[in-house]
């Protein structure tokens, strides 16, 4: 299944992904109207700035997801095949067990009530809104193997450049 990967060297910290996420999870799906909606549409990913590095954090849809194991009401479930972790707002009681156990801190809350919100990989779209909004293509929606292909080519290019510049001297 496709997942959202991050190319950290490309993130400029513009937060476009966060805005697009909130807009996608609104009723109007329009940046111009969404900020006025109630409940306030929430983003489900977070760009954190540490050590002079901008790091977009988003749900990894972990194997044996701790949030699903911690959920006492069955609001959080994981698809056995795709590993997609889904959240059912109607079953959520806002106990925040999921928030406590999430290794990445990417389970947020709806501001008006005790209901958790998390990444659903944008079920209505071919490509998640955050990925589509990223102006530098720091976010990549791909199968793990094809993302690894990209990383291998990038790594090989660096090695090749170093090798060739050594040959030249």
């Amino acid at each position: 299944m496709k997942e959202i990967f991050v190319r950290l060297d490309r993130c400029v910290g513009c937060h476009s992904c966060e805005l697009a996420c909130a807009v996608e999870h609104s009723t109007s799906k329009s940046i111009l109207a969404a900020p006025g909606e109630r409940p306030v549409p929430r983003r489900r990913l977070y760009t954190v700035h540490v050590e002079a590095q901008k790091v977009p954090l988003l749900c990894r849809h972990c194997e044996n997801a701790p949030c699903v194991l911690a959920c006492r009401t069955g609001a959080l479930t994981q698809d056995a095949v795709t590993r997609l972790v889904s959240h059912n707002a109607e079953k959520c009681i806002g106990c925040w067990m999921c928030t406590m156990v999430c290794p990445y801190g990417v389970i947020g809350r709806r501001v008006e009530e005790r209901i958790a919100v998390k990444c659903d990989l944008c079920p209505d779209r071919d490509e998640p809104a955050c990925v589509a909004a990223c102006p530098t293509k720091a976010l990549v929606y791909a199968e793990e193997e094809s993302f690894a292909d990209v990383k291998r080519v990038e790594a090989a290019r660096l090695i090749a450049e170093g090798y060739l510049s050594g040959q030249a001297t």
Binding site: C14, S16, L19, P35, V40, P41, R43, A133, P135
Partner: protein, 625 residues
């Protein structure tokens, strides 16, 4: 390759579509492609919630209330949006007014005998303007009068105390209102400089105060800079009179040297037109195998020479690249404003010479042939010569000129409208009072790839005239109307019964082309004259404004001065103010209580026309007509 539907969705203009197909086939990128690559555009920018005014930032405010609600300095959404809006108005007012400064400077040089080929063409207007400024005319030469007038106009840029003379053309009630609210401008440059001061970190942090100064600055544009540009251009180059011409890419000629003048100022293009008629140049063209020299225009430089000389229009703003893609343009000559920096690389794909001329405006890939008023004709001749000598470089295999062009009747200056009415406004007033004409709409503004090219312009205008609203137009709307055939007297057939009969009686189109974007000042003069004739304020009149495809900062300044003048204005693209509900409310509701007019935003041109018609109907009822 794109589908036919994708390409047709970019423009309603068949000639533009033909060139978009050619661009797609040739793998050439145009504005629409670059617009697609910008998607999704920055949400903070769209809402006006980003600020780069100091280096503690850049700052942004989270419109969803989860992240920061203030910049580092504590600026809230209201402050950020208000400051951003004021800077847009400052830039727009600066562009129009700097244009005016150059015109006044040219008039001064001409009066001093230092203008390289210019002359005073409308002496009657010179005398009328001199009288307004209190300049003596009796027994004085036109050069002496022109020198005083140029100096008086130039002094208004740097003056510290008001008034700006032409603001007093507004009805007395309007001037009193401006004085009462504290938005009567003091000097043109002063207001623009104060915008920059107020928006510096830590100065004006009250959104109402910011917007009010925006209105004052915009008045210094509409009733100052823009009006000075219009009036002094008429003195120098002649006041437009009705004339006939043609519009769209089909005006380019396969067997002649095609020169396109593009940008906004007529100072250079007047001389290009003259030099293109020089027997020496025509002979040179013949020697290079061309049958003549065909000068055409794009954007407001195009409108200026169209209005005064009937020079055909090749297209409006979004057609600047498409014109080069015809492969038949020897030279694209530009001055200032609304010129894509993309033209340099595009011209490199063809034989077209992209020639920049203003010391203020240089472009990558352009040949710079700097233009100065003192040597105007010589430079213009050198530029025309470069174009003519480029004719032999044309690659016949790449030439692809669309057939489409439409006839148009243009040149409706205020003086020309009065003449068409038989010397007095009375026939127009009678038609409005009697209801044959329901009201007057000014439809102006740019193109913007956010709107299907010309769709907003043409549809809003058709709907208005169908409902007996006389349309006055300038800028890219005027060119869209010209291409769509709406500037032909026969277009009266598309008008409602009342407007149709008036147009047919006078032999004029239902859409009157009043000029370039600085010539929106002509529309203000008409409104002032009508209001004075009826003994009311402009805000009482059955009139409305619209900018269906606006994109530039100049358009923001225009919208602001039109509203500050008391005219309800509908925008067809959303300005970056929705990040602050308070500022949005001020512009779309609160302003009504201050200046008697407000903005509306409506993306559907038919619904926008309906809003304008409803407004006109309400104003008629209030006047009891």
């Amino acid at each position: 390759m794109k589908t036919k539907d994708e390409i047709r969705s970019r423009s309603i203009d068949v000639a533009a579509q033909a060139m978009l197909f050619e661009a797609d086939r040739a793998g050439i990128e145009v504005a629409w492609d670059r617009f697609e690559k910008q998607q999704p555009q920055c949400g903070f920018g769209e809402l006006g919630l980003c600020c780069r005014h100091c280096n503690m930032g850049p700052c942004r405010i989270d419109p969803f209330g989860e992240g920061p609600s203030q910049g580092v300095c504590g600026a809230t959404a209201e402050i950020m949006v208000g400051r951003g809006l004021l800077r847009m108005i400052a830039a727009g007012a600066a562009a129009h007014s700097d244009h005016a400064r150059d015109v006044a400077h040219t008039l001064k040089l001409t009066a001093e005998g230092k203008g390289g080929g210019y002359e005073i063409k409308d002496e009657a207007k010179l005398n009328r303007l001199a009288a307004e400024y209190g300049i003596a005319t009796d027994g004085r030469s036109k050069e002496e009068i022109a020198l005083d007038l140029a100096e008086a106009a130039l002094a208004e840029f740097g003056q510290q105390q008001g008034p700006i003379q032409f603001t007093r053309r507004a009805p007395a009630k309007r001037v009193e209102l401006w004085e009462k609210v504290g938005i009567d401008p003091r000097g043109i440059d002063r207001e623009i400089v104060e915008c920059m001061h107020r928006t510096h970190i830590g100065v004006d942090n009250d959104h109402v105060n910011l917007v009010l100064h925006g209105l004052r600055t915009s008045i210094a544009d509409g009733w100052g800079g823009s009006m000075i540009a219009t009036e002094l251009q008429d003195v120098l180059f002649g006041t437009p009179q009705p004339t006939h011409s043609e519009a769209n890419l089909g005006v380019l000629k396969a067997d002649e040297v095609n020169i396109i003048v593009h940008g906004h100022e007529p100072i250079l293009s007047e001389m290009i037109v003259a030099a293109a008629g020089d027997p020496e140049m025509l002979k040179l063209a013949e020697q290079h195998g061309a049958k003549g020299i065909n000068v055409t225009g794009i954007c407001c430089t195009g409108n200026e020479v169209l209005m005064r000389h009937g020079i055909p229009v090749a297209g409006n703003f979004l057609q600047q690249e498409l014109a080069i893609i015809t492969g038949a343009v020897e030279a694209m000559i530009v001055d200032v404003q609304c010129i894509f920096p993309a033209l340099g690389a595009l011209a490199g794909c063809y034989h077209t010479k992209f020639i920049s001329t203003s010391p203020k405006a240089k472009f990558p890939g352009a040949t710079h042939m700097e233009f100065h008023e003192e040597t105007a004709y010589e430079t213009a001749k050198a530029i025309v010569q470069a174009a003519v000598e480029n004719f032999s470089q044309r690659n016949a295999a790449k030439v692809n000129i669309p057939d489409e062009k439409s006839e148009c009747m243009v040149g409706f200056s205020v003086e020309a409208i009065l003449a068409a009415l038989g010397g007095s406004l009375d026939p127009l007033l009678d038609a409005v009072k009697g209801g044959a004409i329901k009201g007057i709409a000014g439809v102006v503004g740019c193109n913007n790839p956010k709107v299907q090219h010309d769709y907003g312009h043409v549809n809003i205008v058709k709907e208005l005239i169908k409902n007996d609203v006389l349309v006055v137009t300038t800028g890219c709307n005027a060119q869209a109307c010209a291409k769509a055939g709406l500037l032909r007297p026969e277009a009266a057939e598309l008008a409602g019964e009342g407007l149709r009969s008036v147009c047919q009686a006078l032999g004029v189109p239902p859409v009157l082309h009043m000029g370039s974007c600085v010539d929106i000042s002509r529309i203000l003069v008409v409104c002032a004259a009508v209001a004075n004739a009826l003994g009311v304020d402009i805000s009482d009149l059955p009139v409305a404004g619209a900018a269906p495809e606006w994109m530039s900062e100049k358009a923001v300044s225009i919208g602001a001065y039109v509203v500050a003048s008391g005219i309800y204005t509908v925008l067809g693209t959303v300005p970056p103010v929705l990040g602050s509900a308070e500022v949005a409310e001020l512009l779309t509701a609160g302003a009504e209580g201050v200046v008697g007019a407000k903005f509306a935003v409506e993306l559907d041109p038919l619904k926008a026309a309906e809003l304008m018609i409803d407004h006109i109907t309400a104003k008629r009822a209030a006047l009891g007509i």
